[in-house]
């Protein structure tokens, strides 16, 4: 786990360049990209933590988000709890669920290499999806909240305001996490385990506990995100699934375990995507740009002498 990553600085440069160009051309694309990219980063962050600190490749990542969305939905339908308020109970619920999953499965494949983890979490993801299908069917569900379509108008410029919550939450979570890692003892333990679990054990850190904590916290962040997303999205058994891929993409782009990089990578890709979508007639190529940027960045950063 690296906090003091210096390599991200040129990612900054790319982002800055894009922001200037796009800002002049189409400011709304910039804002949509920022909002969307923040959401990507927010969802990718827990994956990066689990991968960077525990070295666990979690393919069921998106499904944990799905579970969070359904949990928030259930609270709204049965107890009329507003999704934004339900972020807290859902956070706790996912922390507990994360703990259960950790004890039953993840704990047993720690340090076994990525392949068994990949398959294990693939199995878990199938199980979660099928459970949801059996109980809620594939029919999408929504929570209607008038505030989710709110907007602000500045002169002739009208822009959606709800999704700024993504931006806010992303930056808040990132800052809190960095503060936590730097300033608290548990944070230092996490930081140490991420760099060298053996060394951490030698200085008296309970590595198992740190792993449990990280897995629970990561699930919890997904729960938090789920509550904020719910008023804006449709939920169905495969809702979260595509986000696993996006998250892996961001983690690879940012460099394993780099926290700053995740936020930057998310926003860069978000803006790149929004820009293509805003060009009339070329929206269909936005995926290409998304993966093109991804491949280019990974190549540039990781080319090995061979």
């Amino acid at each position: 786990m690296k906090i003091n990553q210096k390599k991200t600085s040129w990612l900054f440069a790319i982002l800055f360049f894009i922001v200037i160009i796009v800002g002049i051309w189409d400011a709304s694309a910039l804002i949509y990209g920022l909002q969307r990219g923040s959401l990507y980063a927010l969802i990718a962050l827990p994956l990066a933590m689990v991968l960077g600190i525990m070295d666990i490749l979690n393919l069921a990542h998106g499904e944990l988000l799905t579970v969070g969305l359904y949990a928030s939905y259930v609270l709204f339908i049965n107890f009329s709890i507003d999704p934004l308020i339900s972020t807290l109970p859902v956070f706790i619920f996912l922390v507990i669920l994360g703990g259960i999953i950790y004890f039953l499965t993840i704990k047993k494949v720690l340090g076994e290499g990525h392949l068994p983890q990949l398959l294990l979490t693939f199995g878990i993801s199938i199980m979660l999806i099928e459970l949801i299908k059996i109980y809620w069917t594939t029919r999408p569900r929504n929570v209607y909240r008038a505030y989710a379509s709110s907007s602000i108008t500045i002169g002739n410029f009208r822009i959606g305001s709800y999704e700024f919550l993504y931006v806010f939450l992303a930056f808040a979570v990132f800052l809190l996490l960095k503060l936590f890692l730097k300033k608290t003892r548990l944070g230092q333990a996490v930081y140490a385990v991420g760099q060298n679990p053996r060394g951490a054990e030698i200085v008296g850190i309970n590595v198992d506990l740190v792993y449990l904590f990280i897995f629970c916290l990561s699930s919890g962040i997904l729960g938090l995100t789920a509550g904020v997303m719910l008023p804006r999205v449709s939920i169905f058994p495969l809702t979260g699934n595509p986000f696993s891929l996006i998250s892996f993409a961001l983690v690879a782009m940012a460099g394993m375990g780099s926290i700053n990089g995740i936020l930057l990578a998310g926003i860069t890709l978000g803006i790149a995507e929004a820009v293509i979508q805003a060009i009339p007639g070329y929206g269909g190529w936005s995926d290409l740009v998304f993966f093109g940027v991804l491949i280019a960045v990974i190549m540039a950063k990781n080319i090995q002498e061979a």
Binding site: H114, L115, L245, L288
Partner: protein, 317 residues
Amino acid sequence: MKKIIFYLFFVIMAATLPYYAGGYLLHVSTTILIFMSLSLSWDMMLRTGQLSFGNAGFFGLGAYASLISVSNLDIHPVLSLFFAAVFAAGVALVVGFAVLRLRKIYFAITTLALALVFEVIVMNLSDLTGGSSGRVLPQAIFGGNSVLIYWLILFITIIVILISELLNKSKTHYAINSIRNDEITARSSGINVFKYLVFVFVFTSAIQGIIGGVYTQQYAFVMPESTFSLDFLLLPIAMALVGGIYTTMGPILGAIFLGLISEYLKLIMPYGHLFIYGLIIVIVILFLPEGIYKVARKKYRNRKSQEVKLDASSEGK
């Protein structure tokens, strides 16, 4: 000698399957063989230490190459499979020079991203590929004769199995193993790591291309959403891991096991059978982390050595 007779027995059993199994089992077997080849090709790449997620992409490229060569160039469907192989191998060669410089998760993600890029390109070249609604062939290969299709796929699978065995037995295998175990040492002992990686990447992609071609010829259509489906990536990986990686027998057993189990589960529980499927995968990883084949082999060897001990002790008396 005994071994050869034994393998021959298997090949004959498999080749005569159409005479004693019904159409359903034949079709299930055909599907199993397709996934078996994909699984083996993925495992062969893994033996070099590189975790590739590009399977579905090269499978898709082969599928399109095969269909387009049949319908636009009017060549024989069987011949189109070579076209599929060459096309997939060619693309693999070009992209291989770039992506094979990456390692670990970066290589995995980039190959996956490439597969998705292929899909987007195919979707947008609609004049040639039919875009997102895909294209159909007037008829399946061999006029849809399922026995001939089965034999074709069996033939290809046997070749893939032989290649896999060859790769595990020949000199190349030392080079590949040493790359996997310690790349730096491999390089310092004079192995041209990059050359080997490109070599394996290209021919495994060619295999995936052929399989994509066969699949397309069997069902006579391509459609980006199903041709580039991640099923062609995840299921072969699952099969290799459940069976046991780095071996030839592993993916074979894994494909048979998972292929039959998923059909069987479906018959006994129409709703929610996939849940049990996921559960089986989880259980196998947790309790047989080395895969079925290696565990079975170990058990068998243990028993054998015990037998030897028993023999020795009885002799002593």
